[in-house]
Each structure stands twice: as structure tokens, then as C-alpha cells.
């Protein structure tokens, strides 16, 4: 495990690994911290809907988190089940191996999944459970792949967990089966998790230009299709740096070219489609891509007339993770909004450069995760709305600032051309909501009080 973590940690395609700066950023003790590597691994792998996800550890790693992510499945529901070995003090002293084997047996008997992913946790990593050996053994015994996911919480941040999950897929899943048929334009999407069903908006768009998604890594994915991923002709990395290792290693091993892109906003979506065209390198396809882009963009710009009128010139503070911090900027600018401050606590150096490139140099960068900093930025910059993740939502509402949730818990798909329309609608909705009239309105007794003083 140690070796895998180190490898992921010093991923060469990640610009965090410069001579003067090594590896993923470590969390600072004493700060309100984000999720851990275990959480990260789950974010990446749980969307594989027909797999049984078994957490080997004390109950609460599952108890505190099962079924609280926004990845949607069009079919199987098995991924929603919270499976755990629920280790007790006794197991920690004598080892949890027997219980783990029993749990694997019980899952195979009851649920017949195509595969089981076994996640290590802080506790099982510390007491030295040999997950690799046990899983290898059980796979041989039952014929069902039992795959170890070595990403215990303490190894680092969520990003590192994403990456370790990618390593596990490379090592144990990708390349273990052949697709029934291939097409010249087979694409893998890496790091797209079908949050609020975004994939279901994107896929028809690809189909329209003639590109097929061979493997969904991993939004609304199935175990079987991920085994085929090595036969794709191109990879697109959607969630930026977190899974760059997968793309790079697949290029090395299978010669699949890759690019990084985003689907937030029409401009990024069009750019991503064109990039795909470049990788597939087919004049017919490129022509089709251009046609679709033209058609979609024209339609969208007619669709957005009303929203643009309302949103033009409004100021936004953006506080999201990693890739979204820059890709959403473009989307907001397309709507005529001005991004005045951006949270960069989870962004890479490269992300920051892209933020500046898009939002201009006078944009304020909020580096550390601090509620006070966000609120201050809203006040000093006189922002009209905050766009951030769920944990910051109630904070903003306390300060009576309009808020839009953009993280995994949200219920609306914002990707692609139709997604931008929905994002615009939601922004209009948030900003125009009558509740803001109410909070700014002073009651008669408040007026009396200020008159008296």
C-alpha cells in the first residue's frame, strides 16, 4: 500500500510536484478540514452502481456517510447500500480478517454482485490488515472479483483518495475484459460522477456528434464497462487534477491520448467537444462537431435572453473545489456576471493560473477554508450572490446573502448547453426570491428604535 500511496502522491503529471514543492498539499492541523482520502476514494468509486461497496472498519465510516452523495444511477441500486464489517474493540485486538471474509461471503451469497470493492479505513490500515492478500484469496475462492481499495483516511486529502481509487481501477479492473464491439470514436469520461444526472445531458450530445462513451469513469458506471476502458480511442479528464494519473497511465500503457476539460458553460463545452475532435482526428467528425456546436450555441443564446438581462453585471463570490473554481467562472461570465472572489483551497497551482486567466488579476483569491474570509469578501466586494458547497450554505443564509449550491448534494444538472440554461434559471431564482425583500425590510419597531437613538 505504501508504494501505491507514494506513487499517487508524487504523480508526475500533477504540477504540484515541482522540484521545490512535493506532493499533494497536506491538511493543516487545527483548521476545519475537508474530507479524507477514504471519502475521496468513495466519491470516485461509489458511482459504479452495480458493485457492492464494503467498508472494512468501524461502523461509523459508513454510518456517517452512506447514501449521502448525489451520484445518480439509471439502473442498479446496490451502490446505495451501506455495507460494513462494523469492527469492534475485540476485532481490533484480534484482527478483523475472519469478519471480512465472512462479510464477503455473505454479500456474494445474498446479492451476487459483479464485483466487491473492499475499502480500508484508518483502523484496518493501522492494525495491519493485509487487504491485498485477503481480496486475492477471496477472488480465487468465489470467482467474483474482490478488489482492495487502499485509501485509509489518514493518508491525506480527498484529492489523494480520488487518485488512489483511480490506481485501484487501473490495477484490478481496466483491461480485464473485451468490449462486445468497438467504434472508431470510443471515448472514456474520467472523473464525471453523474451528479444530479449531468451525464444524462452530456451523453446525448456526444451521440449527436457521433462519439460513443465506452466507459463511464464512473458516473452511472457499471463494472463490466469499466473493464473495457482500455479499448477507448481517447480519454477526457473531467474533474481536473484528481484523476490525471489514470489518464496518464492509460496513455503509457494503452496509448490512449487524453485531454482535460469541463462542461460548465457553453464555451467550455464547445472547447471540450473540439478537443475530442482533435484527438479522434477525423475530418467528418470535426465537421459534425462544428455543426452541433453552432446549432446548440445559437439555440442557447436565444434561450438565455431573459436570464442574461437579469444577471448582467451582478457580482459573484465563488467558493467551490478544484476544477469547478475555474470552469464555473467561464459559465458565469457567459451569463454576463462578474466573479469578484474565488476560493482556492482545493485548487492546484495550475487551477489558480486558470482562474486568473479567466477572472482577471484583480479577482480576490481566498486560500484557506475560513467562513470569515468568504463573508468578508462578500461584504468588501459588495457581491450579490455566493456560489458554494453545502457546508457553507447555512453560513451564507445566516448573513442573508443569496446562495446557490453547486456541490454533490444539489438536485439540478448544470453541465453542457442545457445545463447552463438551468444554472442561469437557478441564479435568477436565487437572486429574485422574495425572501431577500423580507430580510432587508426593517420592521416598524426597528425603525422606531433607530429614530429614537
Amino acid at each position: 500500500m505504501k508504494r501505491q500511496v507514494m506513487e499517487a502522491f508524487i504523480e508526475p503529471a500533477c504540477e504540484h510536484n515541482q522540484p521545490n514543492h512535493k506532493g499533494c498539499a497536506m491538511p493543516k492541523p487545527g483548521e476545519a478540514a475537508g474530507g479524507c482520502s477514504f471519502d475521496g476514494a468513495q466519491i470516485t468509486l461509489l458511482p459504479i452502481a452495480d458493485v457492492a461497496h464494503l467498508v472494512h472498519g468501524p461502523l461509523a465510516c459508513t454510518g456517517n456517510s452512506w447514501e449521502s452523495r448525489g451520484s445518480l444511477s439509471s439502473g442498479p441500486r446496490l451502490f446505495q447500500y451501506g455495507f460494513t464489517t462494523d469492527l469492534s474493540e475485540h476485532d481490533i485486538i484480534f484482527g478483523g480478517e475472519r469478519k471480512l471474509r465472512q462479510a464477503i461471503y455473505e454479500i456474494i451469497q445474498r446479492f451476487h454482485p459483479p464485483a466487491i470493492f473492499v475499502y480500508s479505513t484508518c483502523v484496518t490500515a493501522l492494525i495491519g490488515e493485509d487487504l491485498d492478500a485477503i481480496c486475492h484469496d477471496e477472488t480465487k475462492k468465489w470467482g467474483t472479483p474482490v478488489i482492495p481499495i487502499n485509501s485509509p483516511g489518514f493518508v491525506g486529502s480527498k484529492n489523494l483518495g480520488n487518485r488512489l481509487a483511480g490506481e485501484a481501477l487501473l490495477q484490478y479492473v481496466i483491461g480485464t475484459a473485451e468490449p462486445p464491439e468497438t467504434t472508431p470514436f470510443d471515448l472514456n469520461l474520467i472523473g464525471e460522477y453523474n451528479i444530479a444526472g449531468e451525464m444524462w445531458d452530456l451523453e446525448p450530445l456526444f451521440n449527436k456528434v457521433g462519439i460513443r462513451v465506452l466507459s463511464h469513469l464512473t458516473g452511472d458506471g457499471r463494472f463490466e464497462e469499466i473493464r473495457y476502458a482500455h479499448r477507448a480511442k481517447a480519454n477526457m479528464v473531467v474533474c481536473s487534477r484528481a484523476l490525471i494519473n489514470m489518464a496518464r497511465k492509460m496513455e503509457e500503457k494503452y496509448g490512449i491520448p487524453y485531454f482535460e476539460g469541463s462542461f460548465y458553460g457553453a464555451r467550455e463545452t464547445s472547447a471540450s467537444l473540439r478537443q475530442m475532435g482533435r484527438l479522434f482526428n477525423n475530418p467528418e467528425l470535426n465537421k459534425q462537431i462544428e455543426n452541433v456546436i453552432k446549432e446548440e450555441e445559437e439555440k442557447l443564446s436565444q434561450d438565455l435572453v431573459y436570464e442574461r438581462q437579469i444577471l448582467r453585471g451582478l457580482k459573484v463570490v465563488l467558493y467551490t473545489g478544484g476544477v469547478k473554481s475555474w470552469s464555473v467562472i467561464t459559465a458565469l461570465q457567459e451569463l454576463g456576471m462578474k466573479v469578484v472572489a474565488v476560493g482556492t483551497n482545493k485548487s492546484t497551482k495550475d487551477d489558480v493560473a486558470r482562474i486568473k486567466e479567466r477572472a482577471g488579476h484583480d479577482v480576490e483569491l481566498i486560500e484557506s477554508d475560513g467562513a470569515a474570509r468568504i463573508l468578508k469578501a462578500v461584504k468588501t466586494k459588495k457581491a450579490d450572490i455566493i456560489i458554494a458547497g453545502g457546508r457553507n450554505m447555512y453560513l451564507a443564509l445566516k448573513e442573508q446573502i443569496p446562495f446557490l449550491d453547486i456541490n454533490q448534494e444539489r438536485h439540478t444538472a448544470y453541465a453542457g448547453y442545457v445545463g447552463l440554461k438551468r444554472l442561469a434559471q437557478h441564479l435568477v431564482h436565487s437572486i429574485q426570491h422574495p425572501i431577500w425583500e423580507l430580510v432587508r425590510y426593517k420592521t416598524s419597531w426597528q425603525e422606531e428604535l433607530s429614530n429614537d437613538s
Binding site: G30, A33, P58, L72, T121, F154, R422
Partner: protein
Amino acid sequence: MTKKVEIKDHNTLFQSEKYQQQVENKREFENPCTLQEVEEVKEYTKTEEYKDKNFAREGLTINPAKACQPLGAVLAGLGFEGTLPFVHGSQGCVAYFRSHFSRHFKEPVPASSSSMTEDSAVFGGMRNLVEGLGNSASLYKPKMIAMSTTCMAEVIGDDLQAFIETARQEGNISEDFPVPFANTPSFVGSHITGYDSMMKSILSYLFEKEPGEIDKTEKINLIPGFETYTGNIVELKKILSLMGVEYTVLGDHSDNLDSPANGEYELYYGGTKLEDVPKAAGAKATFNLQKYPLKKTAKYIEEKWEQPVINGPYPIGIEKTDAFIKKVAEITGKEIPQALKDERGRVIDAFTDSHAYLHGKRVAIAGDPDIVLGLISFCLEVGIEPVHIVCTNGDKEFEVEAYALLKASPYGIDGKVYTGKDLWHLRSLLLTDPVDFAIGSTFMKFNAKDADIPLVRVGFPIFDRHHLHRYPIIGYQGALNLLTSMVNTILEELDKDAPGHSFDVVR
């Protein structure tokens, strides 16, 4: 002029034809298995045979209905003025706790972590703790830090006391800055055990910090326990004020988790004043509203503060509220005011108005020990029959208490109590021996859907309904609230299933 914007969310959007076709196309990737097979297995999981297999499970827990110790410890910390909960261990745990409470209370939740990493696994977590304390103190400016631990620190065996001492010596926190701490490994007990350890630690720390004579007062103390209804604490204060009783709530997190939106976010809002804790030692008695999350705390108060401790019962329903109020009157010598008697009368009146619809309804209940006992008692009062009772973190004592309640009523004879079981066990129970509705947390919605019965949301966590935590479930008002939600759930079902001729205006 603004116009109304219509937006489809994923509930409705993906029902449209375009998306449905996509789903069909995708089926080829799903491990091939026919719809008929799916139906067959679904039917099979409803059989006694499957239930027996399910209950024979040994190694595997499916859909757990409990959380871990530090979650409880964080809640205990939030009950004190200017207090920052700090969890020593790996960082991800704290992120989960904050999300968990945020999603339930719809509030921001302050808590920090020492963010241990692989190095700490080898060398111990001292540097993280020492540095973390310093950073937390300077960043968030608390008056007190309530420290608990995750599994990681416990498996390594970190010595909290020594580490905190080091932090003082190195000047990261001042000599007299209060840092009560509790060891709260997740692999022992549950969130209620963690609440207990942290509460005991805070009380003993603040009390023993200032040694001296205990000044006797006329007040009483109240400790809420793992209380996830801010409305309950408010209701409690209302009852005591009506009675003219002077009191101190120890661990009052009701303000911190229900602060007003007035344009200025305060990291710490309300909570028990730190200086009130040593004074509480001189009170006439301590009422522990819940019994199971306060066992160690109760023992400490009895021994060190030398005052009687009244452990529960959690006052859900008329009978238990009566018992609570009577006990308060007895200890304080206060009269029970007419206003309370009238309120009781009104709620009894409401019970009689609805009783015909509740009579003989069968329910399944799941939750923490105190809340489950209270709900059993309430159900029996209104003629509802508790059938399946699942309490994952219940112990032997709980089981005895639950059966005693059930046996005392003809409505309780079918009741069976399961401790240590999870929600997948409960699913089998619901499918083999159906009931009319279920009572429990949001996580029970999957079971309720499979069994095609309504779920009345009571307990923790409730992520998918708003504001329920603001409405008390204890006291007479609480009994009325529970009654209202249960009877209206039943009436809603009646309307839903009614054939034309029975679709009545009057129910």
C-alpha cells in the same frame, strides 16, 4: 418586473422520454439479468426463509442505524459558551460530523481537527495536536476547546493529557485555557457513549479547576443528552418557567444550532456559561433528560457533586411528562401551575379526538434507546401497537425496560425488541410481518418504500424534511406534535387509498 422561473430537478427531468430511452440503451452494460429474475428475487426477500438467512448474518452490517462516539462528543461541546469542538485524529471524520449536523439542523457547525496523517501513524499524533490546538485557538478564538478522538488516535494510543500539557508548555495555548478531553474511539459504543464521555469530561474539568466549598443553591440542573430537537430544550425551559423553577441547562446546544439570521454570523451563539458549571455542583438535583447517553455523567455527579440525579425517563407522551413534572415539583417544592394542567387537558382532548384512527395501528420503531422507549410509551397511550422495535445501540438494560413497557399494555403484546440489529434486518421484519407505518430517521425511508408504508420521521438524522427539529416531541406540546404527525399520516394514507365513495370530506 420579475417573472416566475420554472426549473425541473432530477425528480421530474429524467422521467421525460428522451432520458428514458437512454436508460433502456444502457441496460446492456448491466450484468445481464431479466426483469423477471429481479421480480423473483424481490419476492424471495419477502419470505421467512430469506429473513432467517438475513438474521443469521455474522460478518456484515447493512445500512447501519448508529453513528460514532466523536459525533456525540461534538454535540456535547456545542452546548457550552464559546466552545470549539476539536477532534484529534484523521481529518475526514470531522468533515463527516459537520455535514451530518449541518444537514440535520440546517445550520453551520463549527468543529476542527488535528488532521493526522501517515507520519503521525508512525510517530504518534503529538505534533498535530500541539500545532492544531494553537491554530484553532488563534483562528477561531474559542473560550474553551472540547477535545475528543477518532479511531486513529485511539489505535495508536495517543496520550491526550500529556500532549495538551506540551501545547501549554510550548505556549500554543495559555496555562489556564480550558481543554477538557475525552477518549472516544468509534469501535466502542456509539454517538451516545461519546456524548456521555465528553459531557462528563467538560463538567468535571470546569468543576475541578476551581476547588473549594460547594455553595448550595435552590436551582436544579438539566442535562439534555444526545438531543437533536432544539425545540425540546426550548419546551423544557418553558415548562420550568411556568413552574417558577430556577434552573441551569448543562450542555445547552439549542441556540448554537438554531441561531437567528440577522445578517451577522456568529461562530458561537448561546450555550451554557462556563462559570455556571462549578455553581451547578451546589444545585438541589440534576435531571438527566435522557438516561442512556448520560450514564457516566450521572455517576460522576452523584459521587462528586453529592446531589441526587434523576435519570430519565425522556418525557415523551403524557405519562412520562407527568412523571417528569411531578418529580420537579417534588424536588423544588413548587406547585404545578394551572397553565400546565390546562395544557395537559387540551392535549388529552386532542388524543380523544384522534383516537379512533390510531386504535390498533401496527408500527415499527427504530432509533436511539431513550427516544425508542418514549415512542413505545406514547404509542401505547394512543392505542398504537409497536410491533418491530430496532435499537442498534441498545443494551440489555434497554431491552428489559422496553419489554416492561410492552408487557404492561395489551397493545404491546406483539412487540419484539431487537438490539444490535441494522436496518436491513428491519427490512426483513417489515416485509414478512407488515405494519401500517414506521417511525424513525431519514435512513428508514428506503425500508418504508420497499414495504410501501409511510414513514413518520422522528429521531436523528432527519435530512430530507425541514424544521422538524424545531418542534418539540417532549412535554405535553411534544405529545401533541407527535399525535398530529401520526394521525395525519394515517389520514393521508386513507385518502390516498380511498375508493371514490369513501373519499370523505370529514375524517
